[in-house]
């Protein structure tokens, strides 16, 4: 067994539920996982080897083949592309004579792409050995190339390369109310669990992760469920392209979130809470760990919190490893248990059968921040904002073609047009609300309101002006879903790939009428028969665009007649590569085809 493996296993007490954390630590130490490592880990955790290999093969950030000493992953969200990421990526590749996905011969560098890294307000962005670098420019790529070429250790790289800005552009209740550590916990202790639940019920708070389920109902169900122990999970795995509000909440309002988690623990009777942080936010790990340590020291975490006998609660940080599907609550729980992030069959729901089969509440970061606010200031204060059915405020992540991308907090019910005006959007063609799985709004719909009863959303607004091609947007979203499908169910596993392939053909002028027809067929199939929300919403971008931007599709058709769905000359490329030929005779010209 290599020294790295035994040290990492010991650090995690040979606990199989820590498998994702173990693989993360090992990746950080040695850049890739060898077959021998996987065997040793399986032995050390008393798991079947195939199970460990299956987990290693599931998460994007794990590599089972050698990668460069510097592993660069370009964020490949639509907003990164709009800000020029494709050109910057090519520049880095050219500088090292590399192709995407390859490792340089000296083993120094590998370059690949990854899904949205949540830096949409300061893209294009990349991860170098897991560390985020935002605001890429040609100058920054040049500097990074030089550092890599010199094999400069990343600790020596200029610190400003890594600085992440919060860009809070509009503050309402959550972002402007002063808050002191422990304030909400103290209020929750004063009210008691029943009182807190009552207050929460009166507030009408609905989950801010997108689904909008009543938080009080969830907590009540968990509190009343039979089990050996109860658990609380804060879902900070925001992976929806265009969403970055949780990143900002955790960076600037961490105390509110941690208080919210502790209030939840107190109310539902959980002794243990998990904060599941997406792997793309490594810069938040140290601040969170430090805050947790301070809280333990000040008795806001641990046993007998605030001196109350029996009030025991602690929080463990779990970091993801690149899998959007883990934002789905039951997949997240699987991941917390050290497994592949596959959504479970429901019922039973996590509130009765969650983490390790025990009653578990999973709440979004913003939801928990609001719980703290409600505990501190009461339901009436909370209901000052929002509509009757959507009480309170919503944090919106605004990116794309706007002058001031960033976080905007409004009371629910705000018209999309007002957000656009405040963010400085001009000549807007379309807005994607709620990320790829949400709703694509055309210009004529900008008067619609952000609220559960109108346009529900986890809070992402990506703005596209008239210069953008809607097909490119849909293609990017289709590729995202194909990359992120867990592969469990047939409709999503195959449907997302088929949709991405057809969109790719349309964007490259090789689409056919049949593709347009089949796109709708595949999208409806996914919506009707998929296993979880990822699959059932994966067809939304295609269906919304077909409904609202049909002419874009028709214009993309090269001909109304039959067009070969592949490029004949391109299909000969492998033959040219083996024969080393590049002469005219090795190419098909238009006339020849």
């Amino acid at each position: 067994m290599s020294g790295d493996v035994s040290a990492v296993l010991a650090k995690h007490q040979h606990d199989p539920t820590r498998l994702v954390q173990i693989l993360r630590d090992l990746m950080a130490a040695q850049r890739h996982l060898t077959p021998q490592d996987l065997t040793a880990i399986a032995k050390g955790l008393a798991l079947p080897r195939g199970r460990v290999e299956g987990v290693a093969g599931f998460y994007s950030f794990f590599a089972t083949e050698p990668r460069g000493a510097y592993r660069v992953l370009f964020s490949d969200s639509i907003t990164d592309r709009m800000a020029g990421s494709v050109e910057l990526r090519q520049r880095l590749l050219d500088a090292f004579h590399l192709r995407l996905g390859e490792v340089s011969r000296d083993g120094l560098l590998s370059v690949d792409v990854t899904s949205c890294t949540g830096l949409c307000d300061q893209g294009p962005a990349m991860l170098v050995n897991g560390v985020a670098i935002p605001r890429l420019t040609h100058a920054r790529i040049g500097a990074i190339s030089a550092l890599i070429r010199a094999s400069s250790p990343m600790e020596w790289w200029p610190e400003n390369l890594f600085s992440i800005h919060s860009h809070i552009e509009r503050r309402d209740q959550v972002l402007s109310t002063p808050f002191e550590r422990g304030e909400a916990v103290r209020a929750a202790i004063r009210r008691g669990p029943d009182g807190t639940l009552e207050e929460l019920q009166r507030s009408g708070l609905r989950g801010r992760g997108g689904a909008g389920f009543s938080t009080a109902t969830k907590w009540t169900a968990c509190r009343g469920a039979e089990g050996r122990a109860r658990f609380l999970v804060c879902n900070a795995d925001e992976g929806e392209p265009g969403t970055f509000k949780d990143r900002v909440l955790l960076a600037d309002h961490l105390e509110l979130v941690l208080d919210g988690m502790t209030v939840a623990g107190h109310t539902v009777g959980a002794k243990k809470g998990f904060l599941y942080l997406r792997g793309e936010y490594p810069f938040l790990v140290q601040p969170i760990l430090a805050a947790l340590e301070e809280r333990r020291h000040e008795r806001w975490l641990g046993s007998e919190i605030a001196g109350v006998p029996g009030f025991d609660f602690d929080i463990e940080l779990h970091v993801g490893a690149g899998a959007y599907v883990c934002g789905e609550e039951s997949a997240l729980i699987e991941s917390l248990e050290g497994k592949r992030g596959i959504p479970r069959n429901r019922p039973p729901y996590p509130v009765t059968h969650g983490y390790l089969g025990q009653p578990t509440v999973v709440n979004n970061v913003e939801t928990l921040a609001k719980c703290a606010l409600i505990a501190s200031h009461g339901a009436e204060f909370f209901k000052l904002r929002g509509t009757a059915k959507s009480t309170g405020t919503k944090l919106l992540s605004v990116s794309g073609d706007v002058a001031r991308p960033g976080i905007y907090e409004y009371g629910f019910g705000v018209p999309v047009s007002q957000v656009l005006a405040d963010a400085g959007a001009e000549r807007t063609q379309a807005v994607q609300v709620g990320g790829p799985s949400g709703t694509l709004l055309s210009r004529s719909e900008l008067g619609r309101r952000i609220a559960f009863e109108d346009v529900p959303s986890a809070g992402a607004l990506i703005v596209f002006d008239e210069s953008r091609s809607i097909l490119d947007v849909v293609e990017s979203f289709a590729a995202f879903f194909a990359h992120e499908s867990c592969g469990f169910c047939t409709p999503c596993r195959v449907g997302t790939t088929l949709a991405a392939q057809m969109m790719g053909r349309l964007c490259h002028g090789r689409g056919t009428r049949r593709d347009v027809k089949d796109l709708a067929r595949v999208a409806r199939q996914m919506r009707a028969t998929s296993h979880c929300g990822l699959g059932s919403s994966a067809g939304n971008p295609v269906l919304h665009a077909l409904e609202k931007f049909r002419p874009s599709f028709d214009k993309a058709l090269a001909s109304h007649e039959v067009v070969p769905s592949f490029d004949l000359d391109e299909a000969l490329a492998p033959a040219r590569e083996v024969t080393g030929r590049e002469d005219e005779g090795a190419h098909l010209t238009e006339e020849a085809t």
Partner: protein, 252 residues
């Protein structure tokens, strides 16, 4: 069959309707299980009567009171109106089977499993005449390392039956899944990645559950001539119901 499901007692059980027929069910049954027990076939691939419903292939999709659900994992509910053989539901199922044919490499005319293959039989049952979508032609090398068993991954539909059988019945965990999305694939439990280095034996349950032709006994090929195989004689709608009843009679 338990006493509770004897025909004479049937009226005392709650029922749902399947395409207008009353179907009785016991509290532990899902829609698919109750339908099969009552002699109504609902096409399926990842479901197996001896294993806990899995719900991944979605071929058993039905409409329950207007909502599409996987019938294998949806608990039966008294009074539910279930639609299983409408054109709309059959279209959804056919699309899924076409998806499976598109993502793998399925060449029925040259396949040893032809005539015994559930994927092929379900495709016939659903009136599928082509895979319709652009074939993906994945590169999936076979594993012939084991002395008695050949693994042909080209035909894998990722139902996980072998994974489940090896873990739950054989206690060997020979099979597992790795990768994600369209790159999800079957792996074996060995550092070398070779079947020969696992504990698989021909007597294992995992040898007999594959609905397609991935796990094959060596030196048995074409012993039963094409034309005389399981689904050559009778359609899967009849065979599957018989098999279900045989399998569930024992443990009730």
């Amino acid at each position: 069959m338990s006493d509770a499901t004897k025909p004479g007692d049937a009226p005392s059980l709650p029922t749902f309707t399947l395409d207008g027929h009353d179907v009785p069910f016991t509290p532990d049954q899902t829609i698919l299980q109750a339908a099969m027990a009552a002699g109504h076939y609902i096409p399926h691939l990842c479901f197996h009567p001896e294993f806990k419903p899995h719900g991944s292939c979605k071929v058993c999709t039905v409409k329950v009171d207007g909502r599409t659900m996987a019938s294998c994992t949806t608990q039966a509910r008294a009074g539910a109106e279930i639609e299983s053989s409408s054109d709309e539901v059959r279209d959804l199922r056919r699309n899924l089977v076409q998806f499976l044919f598109t993502e793998g490499n399925h060449f029925c005319p040259s396949c040893e499993q032809s005539g015994d293959c559930k994927l092929q039989a379900v495709a016939y049952e659903l009136g599928m005449t082509s895979s319709h979508f652009t074939q993906m032609f994945p590169d999936r090398p076979v594993d012939a390392s084991h002395p008695d068993v050949l693994l042909d991954f080209n035909r894998c539909i990722l139902c996980e039956l072998c994974v489940r059988a090896s873990a739950e019945v054989d206690g060997k965990d020979v099979f597992a899944l790795s990768g994600r999305g369209i790159k999800k694939h079957l792996i074996v439990n060995a550092e070398s990645g070779r079947l020969a280095d696992t504990r698989l034996a021909v007597e294992d349950k995992a040898m007999s559950v594959c609905p397609v032709g991935v796990i094959l006994r060596k030196r048995r090929g074409f012993r039963v001539p094409i034309g005389q195989r399981t689904y050559d004689a009778r359609p899967i709608s009849e065979v599957a119901v018989d098999q279900y009843r045989r399998a569930t009679r024992g443990d009730e």
